[in-house]
């Protein structure tokens, strides 16, 4: 294997479930975990004579996502029927978009290893309805739950521009952030809101000659981990197979494989994907969608700053490190809350620490959003200012924030109540320093003498001051007094 040089090519298809109130072509509400077949009507059941009516919100969400992915939004798109027989597809055709998708030719930027950015091209994004679910219960029969049938799905297709499994994962996570930022999807992996289908193959360079391995599509992955692991597995498998058989793209055809989560292997599903004939044709029950300038501008006005550029801005504008910027911008609400707090006068790094070390932890533990914890940005800004001016210590600030969440009280009130206001009054502190010097003459002498022992002695003396004040002495002020007394 050592003399083989290879490059990995991965393209990704992502199905994103849109966060609309109702289904794509009927008025049924979307609901996860509802009683089987309780969210259905003649339309999504595919009853004879029923007709679809387009969900405008789903179209707007898709266009919004398309814009965020830097896509062109054609002024004319239409609906097509994709025909295939499967029990979870009540009409035995799926309403989808074939040759005129809602968005095309875009890109998404992801951070590369060397600190630069890589553009992954987006081929197209189109809207379609989801199928139901086959439930394979005991016995000879299967049952079908059509609650999910008709759920709006945005299918995003990238070009094969990714070269590592980690890159694919980064893209998938970035996409999750983007659709959440835009509010077009909850993108909850546990609920199957995002499903991935990577197309993987290798370009192998052996003895100066290039070989391409057959493309494998891994179906229906619903976690980032499965996405990354399945691609890594495929890379190894395809390399082994090539070395064993020499099979290339020209010889084999595109095949599909499933991911066995327990065994962590891909399993062959369909050997040679014969060009499946879906008999696409324009759906005569629906009118084409015309996206005029006015509508497009209206949708554009709903665009927000995207996580990627926000992250970049945080490192520049607030001098936060990549990690902190990433944590804060991961969720739009958190980032908005952070900025509101900074806006209210909080020093960015201190606000960042308060939010990441206390706020997010508490929100997580309570299973709520940071905005639902209680303290307003103005309260937290005040708390940050108190720490900044030395009125309280950084540790005390964290404690106070916890108490603010628990009690709903204001930061200063809590600082006083909990005796966390630092003693910065020089007169009062002087007395305490004098006492400490009096009862620790040896340390005082060591400090005065200077040299090796001096630093240690000062630390000890400061510790004593802190002990006497129960930690409330402003260390900066106390240190200045010590220096002055023993100079």
């Amino acid at each position: 294997m050592s003399n083989v040089d290879y490059k990995v090519l991965v393209g990704l298809e992502i199905h994103v479930q849109l966060y609309t109130r109702t289904k794509m072509f009927c008025g049924c509400e979307l609901a996860f975990g509802a009683e089987p077949n309780s969210r259905v009507c003649p339309v999504c059941l595919g009853m004879p004579g029923s007709l679809p009516v387009m969900n405008k919100q789903a179209v707007e969400f898709s266009i919004l996502a398309g814009l965020a992915l830097n896509c062109q939004i054609p002024s004319f798109t239409k609906w097509d029927r994709k025909g295939y027989y499967y029990p979870d597809l009540p009409k035995n055709y799926q309403i989808s978009q074939y040759d005129l998708p809602l968005a095309l030719n875009g890109y998404i930027e992801i951070p590369a290893k060397d600190g630069s950015f890589k553009k992954i091209r987006i081929k197209r994004a189109h809207l379609e309805e989801d199928a139901g679910k086959n439930l394979h219960t005991a016995g000879n029969f299967s049952q079908v739950d059509l609650n999910r049938a008709g759920t709006p799905l945005l299918e995003i297709v990238t070009e094969p521009d990714m070269n590592t499994a980690a890159e694919v994962r980064t893209l998938a996570e970035e996409l999750q952030r983007i659709v959440r930022y835009l509010g077009v999807s909850e993108a909850d992996m546990q609920k199957g809101h995002m499903r991935f289908e990577p197309n993987v193959n290798l370009i192998i360079n052996r003895a100066g000659q290039e070989f391409k391995t057959p493309i494998v599509e891994v179906k229906n992955l619903n976690s980032f981990k499965a996405l990354e692991n399945s691609i890594n597995y495929e890379i190894g498998r395809q390399l082994d197979r090539f070395l064993e058989t020499g099979e290339t793209m020209e010889m084999g055809n595109k095949s599909t494989r499933g991911w066995d989560d327990a065994k962590e292997v891909t399993v062959l599903q369909r050997e040679k994907e014969e060009a499946h004939d879906y008999r696409y044709f324009p759906d005569p029950d629906l009118v084409p969608v015309r996206v005029n300038e006015q509508w497009l501008n209206e949708i554009k006005s709903r665009l927000c700053e995207l996580p990627f550029s926000r992250r970049m801005r945080y490192t520049k504008e607030y001098s936060l490190n990549d990690y902190d910027a990433g944590v804060l911008t991961n969720d739009r609400q958190v980032a908005d809350f952070f900025e509101a707090t900074v806006q209210a006068g909080g020093e960015p790094k201190r606000v960042c620490n308060l939010l990441t070390q206390v706020g997010l932890k508490l929100a997580n533990a309570r299973g709520c959003a940071i905005t639902e914890l209680g303290p307003k940005p103005a309260d937290i800004a005040q708390l940050a200012k108190m720490a900044q001016t030395g009125e309280i210590s950084a540790t005390a600030a964290n404690t106070i924030l916890e108490e603010m969440v628990k009690t709903g009280k204001a930061p200063r009130e809590l600082a006083e109540q909990l005796n966390l206001i630092q003693k910065s009054d020089a007169g009062e502190l002087e007395g305490i320093v004098d006492e400490v010097l009096k009862s620790n003459p040896q340390a005082a002498a060591d400090f005065k003498e200077g040299g090796k022992k001096s630093g240690k002695a000062k630390g000890f003396l400061l510790g004593q001051v802190m002990q006497k004040t129960k930690g409330r002495a402003n260390p900066k002020v106390a240190s200045e007094i010590l220096d002055k007394k023993l100079a």
Partner: protein, 486 residues
């Protein structure tokens, strides 16, 4: 039987000269007597109908406001969904299907206080021109019971012709209202595509299907259209009121169209039977006497209409009928070995020959590699035909031509020759491809005393004028008053 028109009956019920119960009972008495011969209905709802009639009588007696069709017994082609009874599409595959909702037109009939007395037979899934393709029963022509009533809405036209109801609804994909109306001697209107909601009409060719009235008179036709026309938010292809508002089709019905210009495509009409042609010529003479002038028009692409129609309609049908698979509802085969057999056997057992033929034709037309040569080309022809009509209507108010090349043919005469059968629709298909309205009105009889229909076509959404043109003729003639002696 000297039957009142639907409007006359409505007015008599409203003024309490008769009652809805009386009229409904009389209809069922007649059904009991002659329906075994005619076979117009797949299902009837006697008890429900009489109960409803009694209720409407009560409301009228109490002086309450009632709908435009209050108390009038009507029938609905069995391709429109009703929550009562079955909705079979005359197919074995849906023989026991109970729809969970009412079609919009059914809701509208009910809102207009009509009495729905039954659901009529038709060609299976509305595919045919003689009602012989019904998977459930045979309907005969009331004028000659050895002959077909036409199709696919043959049950509805036979029921109106035989006095088994006062009016009915049919659906027209390639002539399925007009051609049987012509063969049964009644009035049949196919409105503009988008004028009447298709919600709840079991689809055959979605871009061609349109529901319309089948009546004894032009006036009844206007009345029925008043009830069923209009935008429906549940049907995206129904036209909104701003673009083409629905008018009161009765309001100006008796105003004749001044300076009427009638378009004729002589060469195209030449294919019709001599007796049919003669009746059409005479009808046109009548219009001339009423002040009409003749304009010769050129319809160069009409010859390709049948070919284009059978591509578009069957392609859409192959997709529309994919849902009848034995999985969710309808006929399911017994003891399938796997789910593939649920599909293949249920469909093989449930569909009739003609439906299978059209599904195969349409599947083929949509197959990759053939799509461009068949379906796409058919769409292009369709556009050319639309263009022919647009150009023609620049020169005339309406186009007149036969409805069908012949009068009613014998049962069994054409069943083994689908191509010959398809030619029955040669004059009607173009209106569906172009989406324009067309009406069939009685204009004479052949030497076998079989009715002949005159077809009038007019621009999209000009139903008001079309009905007025038809009314001009009807007022001058008695053809529509003739009833079969059954």
């Amino acid at each position: 039987m000297n039957q009142l028109s639907a409007k006359q009956l409505r007015d008599k019920i409203a003024t309490r000269q008769t009652s809805s119960v009386e009229a409904t009972k009389a209809v069922f008495a007649r059904i009991a007597k002659i329906e075994p011969t005619i076979g117009a209905f797949i299902s009837t709802f006697e008890e429900q109908a009489i109960a409803r009639a009694a209720e409407i009588d009560k409301r009228i007696a109490a002086g309450e406001k009632v709908g435009q069709l209050a108390g009038v017994p009507v029938a609905v082609k069995d391709v429109m969904c009703t929550t009562f009874g079955t909705t079979t599409c005359a197919s074995k595959i849906l023989a026991n299907f109970h729809a969970p909702y009412n079609a919009t037109v059914v809701e509208k009939l009910l809102a207009a206080d009509a009495i729905i007395i039954g659901k009529t037979n038709c060609d299976e899934f509305a595919m045919g021109s003689s009602t012989e393709n019904s998977g459930l029963k045979q309907t005969v022509n009331p004028w000659d019971t050895k002959r077909v009533p036409g199709g696919s809405s043959g049950g509805s036209t036979a029921a109106v012709a035989a006095g088994l109801c006062y009016a009915a609804l049919g659906s027209d994909t390639g002539g399925s209202i007009r051609q049987p109306a012509s063969l049964c001697g009644v009035v049949g209107l196919k409105p503009t595509y988008g004028r009447v909601s298709r919600y709840g009409l079991v689809a055959y060719g979605s871009s061609l299907d349109q529901i319309g009235p089948i009546t004894q008179t032009v006036e009844d036709c206007a009345l029925m259209l008043n009830v069923i026309a209009g935008h429906d938010p549940a049907d995206s292809t129904s036209v909104d009121e701003k673009t083409s508002p629905v008018t009161d089709y009765l309001a100006k019905l008796n105003e004749s169209v001044k300076g009427l210009k009638i378009g004729i495509a002589s060469s195209f009409n030449a294919g019709a039977d001599e007796q049919v042609r003669k009746a059409i010529d005479e009808a046109i003479q009548t219009y001339k006497k009423l002040g009409g002038t003749i304009v010769e028009i050129d319809m160069p692409h009409l010859d390709y209409a049948i070919a284009a129609y059978y591509m578009v309609a069957t392609a859409e049908a192959s997709s529309n009928l994919a849902r009848y698979d034995g999985v969710h509802y309808g006929h399911r085969t017994k003891n399938p070995n796997d789910y593939i057999e649920v599909y293949t056997k249920s469909r093989a057992e449930g569909f009739g020959k003609e439906v299978k033929r059209r599904i195969m034709l349409g599947t083929y037309a949509l197959s990759s590699g053939y799509y461009d040569a068949y379906y796409l080309k058919a769409l292009k022809v369709r556009n050319l035909i639309r263009g022919d009509f647009v150009r023609a209507f620049e020169k005339c108010d309406c186009i007149m031509m036969p409805v069908a090349p012949t009068t009613a043919f014998k049962i069994g005469e054409k069943v083994d020759d689908p191509l010959k059968m398809y030619l029955s629709d040669i004059y009607t298909i173009a209106a569906n491809l172009a989406g324009i309205p067309g009406i069939s009105i009685p204009c004479g009889f052949d030497d076998k005393q079989l009715p002949i229909g005159l077809q009038i076509l007019s621009p999209a959404f000009s139903e008001e004028k079309l009905l007025r043109i038809a009314q001009m003729y009807e007022k001058q003639t008695d053809w529509h008053k003739k009833r079969p002696l059954i």
